[in-house]
């Protein structure tokens, strides 16, 4: 670089006096320019005392400190004495800081071994299960408290949530339920046509939608739409200390934030499911009419031969349970979230996963239960 020739370079010269080495520093020491190395200066010499002084140093920065640090480290390693008494106090102070920083910056081995990871994960599972039960218990206690003083229930919030998770979800639920009905009907048509059993498409679509698919699909949509939103909202509130603010006022977050949401989902989910059932059946009807030339009346009459009220009821009961599961998972994950932007994202993801997992488990339990009860 042309500039470097104009700047007087950093210089270090050494003179041997018996056992001691006198190092003299001069010139401009800048960290952006090359600096002399102590080991070059040292050569073969093995002094027992190294004394350093600054003479005609025009400017200096960390570069000078790095040189001095190298001298100091060499002295420590070789058992020699580092005599820095001739250096300005400011340089000595900063050198001290650099030495301390060096000691503190030694990399630590933070990687845990396999058994430690497994151990911690196992412990965490236990903690999580306990947290879930704790949360459920709190929900029950809050419900009991509210029954005794219903004035404290946040009806306004509950209605707002009902609108959010119910009415506002109608378009997406309509679309998905209708298309599921269409898809099911197409798939069924392939098989049923081969046996001339076209008309039974009405039975299949009706029964599948009412007992199973209507509730499950609506719950999946709401898990993604509402459960994730609950988790993100609560996690964000936690990050902003809004939950702490409630706690310091002695208002349980569960009572104030969770119950209105749970109730909203518990009521809206069965209603949405009934609606989804109707749309799914309509989807099947359109395919049956268009593809298999089954008249709507025939479709309807055939469907009524197999679908009765107990089927509809079993679907609706399941929907109510799924609603509570989606709400519980969303709120639990939201309240458990870390106080960070990443925590909010994780809470939302985890809410959806938890909701769908618990829902499938619950669905299996319901299947066994309804079978035993003969519904």
């Amino acid at each position: 670089m042309p500039v470097s020739s104009e700047i007087p370079r950093a210089q270090a010269t050494a003179q041997v006096h018996g056992n001691s080495l006198d190092v003299t520093l001069a010139g401009t020491w800048q960290v952006t320019h090359p600096r002399p190395l102590f080991r070059d200066l040292l050569g073969e010499a093995k002094p027992s005392v190294v004394s350093v002084r600054m003479e005609a140093v025009e400017r200096w920065d960390t570069s000078l400190l790095l040189f001095l640090f190298e001298v100091e480290q060499w002295c420590r390693g070789a058992g020699a004495t580092f005599d820095s008494a001739a250096l300005p106090p400011k340089v000595q102070l900063l050198l001290g800081q650099l030495t301390r920083a060096h000691a503190a910056s030694l990399p630590q081995d933070r990687s845990a071994n396999f058994f430690a990871i497994v151990g911690v994960a196992t412990q965490q599972t236990g903690v999580q299960v306990r947290e879930i039960f704790h949360f459920l218990g709190e929900c029950v206690l809050s419900t009991v408290r509210l029954v005794s003083s219903p004035r404290k229930f946040r009806w306004r919030d509950c209605l707002a949530e009902m609108q959010q998770c119910g009415a506002m979800a109608l378009p997406i639920v309509s679309l998905i339920a209708f298309l599921i009905g269409v898809t099911l009907a197409y798939t069924a048509a392939i098989v049923l046509r081969q046996f001339g059993g076209d008309i039974f498409i009405a039975d299949l679509i009706g029964l599948a939608m009412v007992r199973e698919v209507g509730a499950v699909m609506t719950a999946v949509v709401l898990a993604g739409r509402t459960g994730a939103a609950f988790a993100a909202t609560l996690a964000n509130m936690k990050m902003n200390e809004e939950i702490d603010a409630l706690e310091t006022l002695g208002i349980p977050a569960v009572q104030f934030l969770v119950l209105p949401r749970l109730l909203a989902l518990g009521i809206m989910m069965p209603l949405l499911t009934i609606y989804a059932n109707a749309l799914g059946i309509l989807g099947g009807l359109v395919v049956a009419w268009g593809l298999l030339s089954i008249s709507p009346t025939a479709y309807w009459v055939e469907m009524l031969t197999i679908v009765d009220l107990s089927d509809v009821l079993s679907g609706v009961i399941k929907a109510g349970a799924f609603g509570l599961i989606v709400g519980l998972a969303g709120c639990l994950r939201g309240l458990q979230a870390d106080r960070s932007a990443m925590g909010v994202g994780r809470a939302a993801t985890s809410a959806v996963v938890t909701a769908i997992l618990l829902m499938v488990v619950a669905d299996a339990i319901f299947a066994v239960l309804f079978n035993v009860l003969g519904i």
Binding site: V57, R59, W60, D61, T62, P88, K90, L93, L94, K152, D157, M237, N240, E241, E242, D244, A245, L246, E247, T248, L249, G250, I251
Partner: protein, 258 residues
Amino acid sequence: MPPETSPIPAITVEQLTCGYGRDIVLENVNFSVARGEIFFVIGGSGCGKSTLLRHMVGLHPPFGGVVKFFGEAFTQADVTTRRGMLKDFGMLFQGGALWTSLTLRQNVALPLEEYTRLSRREIDEIAAMKLGQVGLGGFEDYFPAEISGGMKKRAGLARALALDPEIVFFDEPSAGLDPVTSRKLDELILQIRETFGTTIVVVSHELASIFQIADRVIMLDRAAKGIIAEGRPRELAVNSRDPRVTEFLVRGDVVKPG
């Protein structure tokens, strides 16, 4: 509540040991705050000031020790007793912690709705009055997102004052505020004490506030895991022989390269 002349301190902290998970942040901390005192908890970042505050107000259970309000144990109390005691103190969080889905009026009204049997109209009036006291008259129906950081803090303060608490806790009241707004908040704190005789506990490292309004301070230190100084701020600044205290209160010079 004990009478005004009662020798029982507003807050007593005895042998408090607290932290998070397995990390002990503070060990065997003892101090007390007299009624009507403006008491500061000071110290560098990470020394446990906010931790102490969060444990005092019961947001986390301490590892050991006890916190008493007006002589009554709070940390060990059962849920019902605790809930009764909670309404005797208010807390202003760092960012205000206003409930974002509620307007300022609704924010201030919520504690009143929870703890009183006042009519809707009365609650609204009190909320408006409290907001007026902190200089937010006319902003009652704004949402938190529509007002500035300083206003959020003042609204948070109005909410903390909603139930006319005996003690108000402030977590870093001047954090993120410009000097003028910060000074106004200090004045507001003084005014609250003058008007209501409220006991005030402030966590802060804002030197101006400390010297301006603190009656007494305790200084925490991360390495010591506890209190390293206690007294009046000016006396500490002049008389303390502890370099950690003087460095904090007098501000040492930073060495720069030549």
